[in-house]
Amino acid sequence: MPEFSILTVMLTAPLAGALLILGLPRERTGAIRWTALGFSLISLGLAPWALARFDLSRPGPQLVERWTWAPAIGASCVVGVDGISLWLVLLTTLIFPLALAASWTIEERVKEYMALMLALETAVLGVFLALDLLLFYIFWEFTLVPMTLLIGIWGGPRRVYAAVKFFLYTMAGSVFMLVAIVALWLLSRPLTGTGTFDLQWMAAQLSPLLSLEVQRWLFLAFGLAFAIKVPMWPFHSWLPDAHVEAPTAGSVILAALLLKMGAYGFVRWNFALFPDAARDFALPIAILAVVAILYGALASYAQEDFKRLVAFSSVSHMGFVMLGLSALNSLGIQAALLQMVNHGLSTGGLFLLVGMLYDRTHTRDFRELGGLWKTLPLYGGVLMVVGFSSMGLPGLNGFVGEFLILLGAFGSTALGTAARGLTALAAFGVALAAVYILTMILRVLHGPLPERWRGLPDLTRRELAIMAPILVLIVFIGLYPQPFFAAMQASVQQTVAALSEAALSMR
């Protein structure tokens, strides 16, 4: 009996849902919403099953499924998970149902909205699951389309500007990746006849043949696309606009998942295919990461708008992730991967909370908010916990990630003599995070309560149900991160081994 294709079903269920929704009559908004949620729950339901079948001790891709669809150019549909992508895949399947549930308040063009959200879920899952370069690129680029439309149609006042900026900025990066993919494919042609886009083949066969010069160029071409997506400083300027103008669910997905695609891309493609160049570029990446940490934190502190504050905090947090990756050691990369999940939970959660507040007050301006703990005690409590997670309070998930990233960077040989200085500066960023998060809490929850917010209703059961899984995971990862690391370990160590072998072969 053929084995059940968990990953393919997980990947295509949302898309099937999107097509189904297109066939539903547009007046039946209730049915459309439930269909959307239902199909995203199929993917979520498959997640524990995939996890159960995942062998923790084995490196490399597992649950691999492969369909050849273009033998003439050697392109296949190859999907699989390894320790690097596992948690991001699971995070995706979790975040989307939450985002859909948070979109219950969308009344305008529900049908298009839900169809686009589901199409986006397939695209994001595809990015994390694809083990074939062409397939990866197709999903990568396709995430742009639904996201741009979500921002542009359901966004805030400057939505069109933000949507177009988002599209152009991201595309400007990814076309160079396309050129690099073409170049890699052409290099693989003499070796295989038809050429191939297969990750494992490229990492094993093609990558060792590339000269350092070629690796550097290809690293930069891939890296630019990923750096814009992360976004690394100075490529971040699309982010505040896109985040602020996007509808709540859009911001959540953007922060929790789309940014991760950039950082994930570095590990999955740049580190695996261009290990020599990766060592060369580790230090520049680390320096930009530290700049992002400090700049993001300071900019965050300077905001008067709740959502912009959270948006800039993302720049800072993703700086930590990139610092961990640039350490190029097992500790740093594992911590960075965990921190991606943490950031997805905490920043995703914060964007949800911003949206919930905005639904009640229709403002996000700190100068008009304040004292809300009195009327919204539940909301206040949840905001505190998620805020503390984002701040890196010990006992919650953010602390584990950031602390280990700093530890990894401190002991990094790839960063050489600069490692300690950079780590110290980054540690200063942790303190700054406390400043802007506590300021945010202060300005939203404390102080005098303006008269007009006196009768605001507290969190509804639907909203609590959305926040509950996030809160549970924030605490769980904070107290017991071991299982998360256990699943990553084998794959990350393999990557790191390849990276250091590359360094040895150079000498």
Binding site: P71, A72, I73, F142, V145, L149, V160, M171, V175, L178
Partner: protein, 470 residues
């Protein structure tokens, strides 16, 4: 004598003449039958082409024409464009008071000329086909008489087109003077061991050919007629010109450069590369500032001519399938976009400014979604056909060492995203004042559906079928 390569041309020509004859004896009144007839004849042409799919390569008619895989695919693209143009025309002509039966006859005649171009094996056939396809197009451009833009466009097109033809004839004459040859394969043989005395004449002739064919393909710097003609011509004709004429021009370039002048690649590759670069840059750059959909599409058509030129420069085993694929993808997306434009130009007249499209997707989400798909394909966003098309051509050009051209190609692709997105933005995010609604023309909707399916599935089907080797 081998007639094989000429069958599609013969079918369309005979059909067109038959329609003209019928038109002369037709009772006054609706010309709906003509549209059906034209569609049927296109179908017959398609049948003839498909029946010949496995044939060749074979030369025929005193070696003047050739039937090979390239001819097959070019013919297919031309017939696709023709069929879609007929679908777009029927209701449009009625609503704009242009319903005259000879319209379809001219359309088929132009198409027959393009089919002849696809099989050209001799410079004389190139010239004949060029004139054959051009004259009906001049008439069709001015078909919206007495609308002054239409007449102006026709006159401009005719005068400049006549110039281009003169260049072509002169070029052929110079080559003939130098070599005594007009057959493309003989010419290639001659070029293997060129007679030094006659070489200059042949080079000059070749340069003139490049100018004339560049004009038809709307390549910079011979593109200046394009925006006015595209804007002035009846919208279905514009779509036909953008898709089918482009195919014919590319076919001509492919025949002349890759067969006739192939041994002299080193000489024409440089100028052609410059043309490609200029075409991509100017086409996309100027399209940025357009505020009218049809004019934007004119510059888009120029820009895509630039990408297509990459297909002539690239490594042939990749470039030729890429070229064919690109033409099909471009035809689907462009004709689809013009189909949406036709349904936006209801009986109240043609206004194709972006404001006129504002908010349309609110009431007509199907049309809005289709337009978004076509625009994304023209940008080259996966998984639409436009993405695979660009992928193939960029790969071919990169393999042949045209690194700078590929970089220009991808950078201009990003630029193009801006103006194609403007259409999507207007339709999906615009606030209409007052809201115009697309007219529900059944034939136009059919063509939107066909183009949409083509744009979405072409890439997957193409590779699923094992790609195409030429």
């Amino acid at each position: 004598m081998v007639w094989t390569p000429l069958w599609p041309t013969i079918v369309l020509t005979a059909g067109a003449l038959g329609l003209l004859l019928l038109e002369a004896f037709r009772r006054p009144g609706s010309a709906q039958g003509m549209a059906w007839g034209a569609l049927g004849i296109t179908g017959l042409g398609l049948g003839a082409t498909l029946a010949l799919a496995g044939e060749g390569p074979v030369e025929g008619f005193y070696r003047m024409v050739v039937w090979d895989r390239l001819a097959f695919w070019f013919s297919l693209a031309v017939l696709l464009g023709t069929g879609m143009a007929i679908l777009l025309s029927r209701h449009y002509l009625v609503d704009h008071g242009l319903e005259r039966g000879e319209y379809y006859a001219f359309l088929l005649l132009a198409s027959a000329g393009m089919l002849l171009m696809a099989v050209a094996g001799d410079l004389l056939i190139v010239f004949l086909a060029l004139e054959w396809l051009s004259f009906p197009l001049y008439v069709l451009t001015g078909f919206a008489r007495p609308r002054v833009e239409s007449e102006e466009a026709a006159l401009k097109y005719f005068l400049l087109g006549a110039f281009a033809s003169a260049f072509l004839v002169f070029g052929i004459a110079l080559i003939f003077a130098g070599t005594g040859l007009t057959n493309l394969r003989d010419l290639a043989e001659w070029l293997e061991r060129p007679d030094p005395a006659a070489r200059t004449l042949v080079w000059m002739g070749g340069a003139l050919l490049l100018v004339a064919l560049g004009f038809k393909a709307a390549a910079v710097p011979f593109h200046l007629w394009t925006p006015d003609v595209y804007e002035g011509a009846p919208t279905p004709v514009t779509g036909f010109m953008a898709a089918a004429t482009k195919t014919a021009a590319v076919a001509a370039l492919a025949r002349v450069l890759l067969t006739g002048l192939a041994p002299a690649t080193a000489l024409w590759a440089g100028p052609l590369a410059l043309m490609a670069a200029a075409t991509m840059l100017v086409g996309n750059g100027v399209a940025l500032v357009q505020s009218d959909f049809k004019r934007m599409m004119a510059y888009s058509s120029i820009a895509h001519a630039g990408y297509l030129l990459l297909g002539l420069l690239g490594e042939p085993s990749l470039a030729l399938p890429g070229l064919v694929f690109y033409l099909l993808a471009y035809a689907f997306a462009t004709l689809g976009a013009f189909a949406v434009a036709v349904s936006m130009a209801g009986p109240e007249g043609e206004d194709h400014s972006f404001e006129a499209y504002a908010g349309v997707a609110r009431r007509a989400p199907g049309m809005g979604a289709a337009m978004a798909v076509f625009m994304l394909s023209l940008i080259g966003v996966p998984p639409t056909a436009g993405f695979f098309a660009k992928l193939l051509l960029f790969a071919a050009a990169w393999e042949a060492g045209w690194t700078a051209l590929v970089l220009i190609g991808v950078i201009t692709t990003v630029i193009s995203a801006y103006f194609y997105l403007r259409v999507v933005v207007a339709m999906w995010m615009g606030r209409p004042e007052p809201l115009r609604l697309p007219v529900r023309y059944p034939w136009v909707r059919a063509s939107v559906v066909i183009s949409g399916m083509g744009t979405l599935l072409l890439g997957f089907l193409w590779f699923l079928l094992g790609g195409v080797t030429l």
